[in-house]
Symmetry: C2
Subunit: 390 residues, 2 copies
């Protein structure tokens, strides 16, 4: 039996492997990006129309497309409902993007670090990935221009708002400069924004796509963090030139997105409960974040540095020594504590990232205190071991 060449590049989602380990009773997990179950809305199915049992349009339900277009316009993105494609979760935008742009060897630009499941998808299709260093204020527009001119990438994939894994949020000046640079290069932008509503502190959140005039774009949006992930409904908003191919690729992938989920979300976006829910979710996650920041400051102040993420689900801790954090995970898992090692978030293989990603949305305050203390002990031990080796 012969598999395709791409299967040589197929990697499992480390995150999902770790998540299945963390299903064990008694494990304290800072690994996943699971929304807290407590803040998910309950849905009312009583008015569900019978007509939704039939096949639906590949593009998605008109009513939901219109509401998403209106929402995009509020964010500054000049888009009509025709530019909205409903997806089986925002992750599907990455599959369609890869199909649209990537042949084996196609150069693309990504942040370093970036969302690991995006890396997996782009790698699967054979992209040659070039990295843009990420600072708390964003990427460097000059590096973007230089790498674009050097490598001639097919697109640039960015997560400007409450980035995964870093929690960073591009500042206003960087957003404008990056948008200007993309326009000058006519370089397609894939802007991934699952976390934008999870905002805890004042931060610029204007989508880069809102300031593009000539560069084509795909803006990827999610309901998994503002409603519930189990529905598996996400969306993209794209330049008109990209839509015909994206719709055909969606048809080929799964015909269309489940209609019950689309209907629930179309109702939900208009309900008085929605804005209330967002505010409640933000308050809850802000508190969760602050609990973890306090625990980190109490235990790890001498071992690592971090920025306060103004939104999102993650704290990115930069360790004081450049250790292999996958080995650190083995040490903490022996004590039933999980986090995400930094290495898989980089497109270029790294032996020792010296960074870890900590999710703060899911664990109780007691578990955070206990888990961070265990990470501290493991870090101290790892630093000693490292020193003894060198």
């Amino acid at each position: 039996m012969m598999f395709s060449e791409r299967i040589n590049r197929l990697s499992g989602s480390l995150i999902r492997e770790i998540l299945s380990l963390t299903q064990r009773p008694g494990v304290i997990s800072f690994a996943g990006g699971l929304p807290a179950a407590d803040v998910m809305p309950a849905f009312d199915f009583s008015q569900l129309p019978d007509s939704l049992r039939q096949y639906g349009p590949s593009e998605g339900e008109s009513i939901l497309r219109e509401k998403i277009a209106a929402h995009a316009q509020q964010l500054g993105i000049q888009a009509t409902a025709d530019q909205v494609l409903i997806l089986s979760g925002s992750q599907q935008a990455l599959d369609l993007t890869a199909k649209l742009f990537i042949d084996p060897g196609t150069p693309i630009l990504v942040e370093a670090p970036t969302y690991l499941a995006a890396l997996q998808n782009f790698r699967l299709f054979g992209a040659e990935m070039h990295e843009l260093a990420l600072q708390p204020s964003g990427i460097d527009p000059a590096e973007l221009a230089a790498k674009a001119k050097c490598h001639r990438p097919a697109f640039c994939y960015l997560i400007p708002t409450f980035q995964n894994p870093s929690g960073y949020c591009y500042d206003a000046a960087t957003r404008q400069a990056v948008a200007r640079t993309l326009d000058e290069l006519a370089l397609p932008l894939i802007e991934d924004e699952p976390y934008r509503e999870l905002a805890y502190d004042k931060a610029e959140r204007r989508p880069l796509c809102a300031d593009l005039h000539t560069a084509p774009f795909i803006y990827c949006g999610s309901f998994s963090k503002t409603a519930t992930p189990g529905l598996r409904v996400g969306y993209l908003v794209a330049s008109p030139t990209l839509m015909p191919n994206l719709i055909k690729l969606k048809q080929a992938a799964d015909l269309h997105t489940n209609r019950i989920g689309q209907w629930l979300l179309a109702n939900w976006l208009d309900s008085p409960a929605y804005q209330e829910h967002i505010l409640k979710t933000r308050a809850y996650y802000r508190q969760q974040r602050d609990i973890m920041l306090t625990a980190l400051a109490n235990h790890c102040g001498e071992l690592a540095t971090w920025d306060t993420p103004p939104g999102g689900l993650f704290i990115w801790a930069r360790l004081n020594q450049q250790i292999d954090t996958r080995r650190l995970l083995q040490a903490t898992m022996a004590q039933n504590v999980a986090f995400m090692p930094g290495e898989p978030f980089f497109a270029t293989p790294v032996d020792a990232a010296g960074c870890i990603r900590l999710n703060f949305s899911h664990a109780t305050a007691d578990a955070v205190e206990q888990g961070i203390a265990i990470i501290k002990d493991a870090l101290q031990q790892a630093f000693v071991n490292q020193k003894n080796c060198t």
Copy 2:
């Protein structure tokens, strides 16, 4: 902007373009494969567990996987729940199959004619498709063996039961001979079976996968015809050797399938209403089929031949002259009658298929009578035109 090379091979779904034309009021459509809305079950959401709002496993809900494995065992396929992967509709099996096996230039074997959206997917990934002629009794095992030895295909894609578009159903001897041949060649089989429960007359329906011993297989199943397509939940059952890659490909595509649909179907499969519903659906579609067969006999007996499909949703009419049926469609659409032209169901481009696919599940008896009469007129005119040209 540079798209990937595969975009040159991306074609829209002709079926969906025709379907959108048939949304016009007053159009009689025999084009789609839409299940009749009247026979779809209503669902009860009242016991939906809150826990399903969270992210779920990529493989699918355990309870549904177990029920599908039990069902597969009843059909003779020796499979455990570990071999079941829940999909966002059965169409997704084709996307995952293409990713698993097809590089540009990879040879594969398909029936002639076959499901056009499968052709679109395999073509998108660059497959070099070789055809196996299809008779009412199935493909010819000797042709399968010869073409397999000549072309060294990565897999063979077959729809043995109530085939789309032909309505043919492989007989018992052909099923056994094809399975034996696949085993001898160790050639992977993709067996697509969305229509198996839509059985109206006695016909052999034992899956080929049930008789494979050495050849790897992917068995693709659907709930769109036995429940409702709007849920977008399908599944595959595969050889253990294929599962790890298929699960990773599913993760990369959309993380997992929507959980509400999975829960509804897991309940539905066990309910007393399910078997009743299948019987009711069969009775309804059998009657629909017979109405169309009568109208065809009344109007088109001198113009075409067809076999009585023992199941499924389609009659495949072989016209007495080898005309371009896409032009025939233009003529009938001018009178608001739609059907599926034969040409796109062939992997090898054909100028004039001389066959059309007629769906009988959806139109009323009056509409069938009226629509078939209009097709008759168009056929007579087309045959005259053809004679004048030659």
